[in-house]
Amino acid sequence: MENIKATETKEVKVNYLNNGYSIWSWLFTKDHKRIAIMYLISISIFFLIGGLYAAAIRLELLTPQSDLFETGTYNKIFTHHGIMMVFFFLIPAIPATLGNFMIPIMIGAKDLAFPRINLLSLYLYWLGGIITLWALLQGGVDTGWTFYTPYSTTFSNSYVVAAGLGIFINGFSSILTGLNFIVTIHTMRAPGMTWFRLPLFVWAHYATSLVMILGTPVVAITILLVAVERIARIGIFDPAIGGDPILFQHLFWFYSHPAVYIMILPSMGVISELIANFSRKRIFGYEFIAFSSIAIAVFGFLVWGHHMFVSGQSIYAGLVFSFLTMVVAVPSAIKVFNWTATLYKGQVSYDTPMLYALGFIGLFLIGGLTGLFLGSIGLNVHLTDTYFVVAHFHYVMVGGTVLGYLGGLHYWWPKMTGKMYSEFWGKISAMLVFVGFNLTFFPQFILGYMGMPRRYAAYPPELQVLNIFSTAGASVLGVGLVLPVIYLTLSLIVGKKAPANPWLLPGLEWRTSSPPPTENFEETPVVTWEAYEFSEDNGLDIEKAKRELVTA
């Protein structure tokens, strides 16, 4: 207590941002907060690159002919789009930025358990990213982000090895992040921070980390095998030399299905935070949300074959995978119902983060439900490899994860930067994203059922009208997504100074200054309250926080 008062009187507090300005103080930092900021900048760049490729895809598909690009170029464009978005944007998006920044603070620790490994994982991410970018600039890759053999091992004439190497390295970045989180959550919790007092964001990341550790190595070795197979012309995937292309699919999806839960779970964690905090009440069914994260992570490993229903795997395996796919949908349903129930008798406010959170629920709902269409094996036969799949995964990945990510980014922005962003523009862009998104991807469900295959540079003219809608929507979506880049950046310069607790919330991260000091807390906090505790027992000095809010 003494400490806080002492620092309050000082003019400029020492925080993680102003305790060193040199470039080295960033590049060699071991502070999880600085690493998170560097990640944030990096993934934003990759997102913009991926977004530019998306724009190119949508422009090409404006007309039925492949007139804007050669078919070969188009193939590279969607491949690059997928690789950039999945491996270099969406997978690290929430864990490496928001997670990296917030987890230690939320559990009352000074840092992650292994700060040096954290920095190493950033460097691996950069190295992987640069190698992959180099491959894309040299001539690109045209295998699709799924790298199916034997096209990728034998027939493709592009930079598969280099891109694969980049993804391989990037994989270890993800593994190390997961490892760090798990250890941190196990050993570094502040006194009194029991497992069931952890914010659900932390639970979600725990589950995510499990998937990272258990799944990522498999895709790493698989991609390595593809690369060696290309270089040495031997291998186990190309049937021309006795190998088996379906084995590749098994190994690839063993990771890449669970990987979709790497993408969605952290976002679900963010949504749990937002829904509870902006309703200003306990989350409904805390344990159920926490355990459903674990259940998703665990059962998510048993369903990968649903990407291979028509691949020639056995019918029996197809049925088992279809069955388990239905089972794994249930924990997601539990979450959705609990979030909805949380609003009941709350004090719901509609700041920008909450708008994103509500948008998330709607869009993830549609994305998840259409996942059931795909998981139903008889229906999948018609739908697989059509735009129905494209629409499904954009609904969960963009409508779900990206919205959750943006919600979280706005929510913690004052904490991370010490500045308030423009609420007006925040709301505008949230609306634009929501509308633009639906306009882009809803027509694709219909296109898919009509039979438009994915990865097509040219398509039959009778499908043009819906494609025009989709492209129009993408432009609105593009504007909606570029806006935050602008006003968030501007807020750093012209934004109001953020108080320690701008929303008057009980979480630990709101009990330290904005931006937090290097060691996160002036003194190690002792936790005596439950997560999302809005009653008097939460030990929050409400009056002081309100005073700050007014003066800021």
Partner: protein, 317 residues
């Protein structure tokens, strides 16, 4: 503010931890998580092994028969000894016994190096016999007249007579005479190709009679039109075995090299007297890594060197 730094007086305590216990616990859990990651990393290869072996057991048996099971077994023992000395390293660190610690680290490193040395011998043997599954990476022998006459019937085009010659010897040649029941032909490999010139027909025929061929083998080894045993097709499957062999043992050897690097660092620190009963967690977690690499080999040895060997030694099938 000041009192948060008070722990720094404790040697080896990093700033993010409250106390040594927390730090050590983190290190141990961290290493275990890393090992789980390693299990899955090797797991991809084990899965590939499983899939192909369950389909082509005969080709795998034939392939593993040309690994040197004695050297493989020897290496297993070598690794076990090194694991033992590693365990003792941790023991002596816990006892704060610096001298014995250093001795044990040196021994561990010595056995680790022996292991790699044996591996080099094995690999070069494969190189000399054309068993590396990559074209051009084997020893190349120029076409010499008398060798070309004998010919190898696999991998290169051979005349009709040579082919029959090869077949005859396959049928009449002494099954019991050659040390592993295979028919070795002179090494003739102008392009450095993967050269499987040890037959395999009798093995497959034996298995066929006993009804042991899997569905995949019934298709995989035979010419679709003539329905005869096709040595080229058989060779393709054996090549898969060798590719998996090199991938798995190569990755394992790489882990050994990393292990040796870690041990060198440990040696350096141990000589400085860093480790004691109060602070030995680096030794402990390096040990975990070392033992893990040993465990991988404990499985690689039977899977690659031994399974299927009895097909040839047991006489029957």
């Amino acid at each position: 503010m000041a009192d948060t730094h008070k722990h720094h007086h404790q040697p080896g305590l990093q700033h993010q931890f409250e106390n040594m216990e927390q730090q050590q616990e983190s290190a141990t859990i961290g290493m275990w998580m890393f090992l789980v990651q390693e299990i899955m990393f090797f797991g991809g290869l084990f899965t590939a092994y499983l899939v192909f072996r369950s389909r082509y057991p005969m080709a795998f048996a034939a392939g593993s028969n040309h690994l040197d099971a004695f050297l493989g077994g020897l290496n297993t023992l070598v690794l076990i000894v090194s694991s033992f000395t590693m365990a003792l390293t941790v023991y002596y660190a816990q006892k704060s016994n610096r001298t014995m610690q250093v001795v044990m680290i040196l021994l561990t490193m010595f056995f680790g190096s022996v292991f790699l040395g044996v591996k080099v011998i094995e690999y070069s043997d494969k190189y000399n016999h054309g068993l590396i599954p990559v074209t051009g990476w084997n020893k190349k022998t120029p076409v010499s007249a008398e060798k070309a006459e004998l010919g190898s019937f696999v991998g290169t085009k051979v005349s009709a007579e040579e082919a029959t010659h090869g077949k005859e010897s396959a049928h009449t040649g002494g099954d019991k005479t050659s040390h592993d029941g295979h028919h070795e032909k002179p090494y003739y490999n102008p392009t450095g190709d993967f050269q499987w010139n040890y037959g395999g027909e009798d093995l497959v025929m034996m298995a066929k009679q006993a009804g042991y061929l899997t569905e995949a083998e019934k298709i995989g080894y035979f010419d679709p039109i003539t329905k005869e045993f096709d040595p080229n097709r058989f060779r393709d499957k054996v090549r898969i075995f060798y590719w998996i062999y090199f991938a798995m043992t190569g990755l394992h050897a790489l882990h050994m090299v990393v292990g040796l690097i870690i041990m060198s660092w440990l040696l350096f620190k141990a000589i400085q007297g860093t480790f004691s009963a109060d602070y030995y967690s680096p030794v402990e977690i390096s040990g975990l890594y070392w033992h893990f690499v040993d465990i991988v080999w404990i499985f690689l040895f039977p899977l690659l060197y031994l399974l299927g060997r009895h097909f040839l030694h047991g006489g029957g099938h």
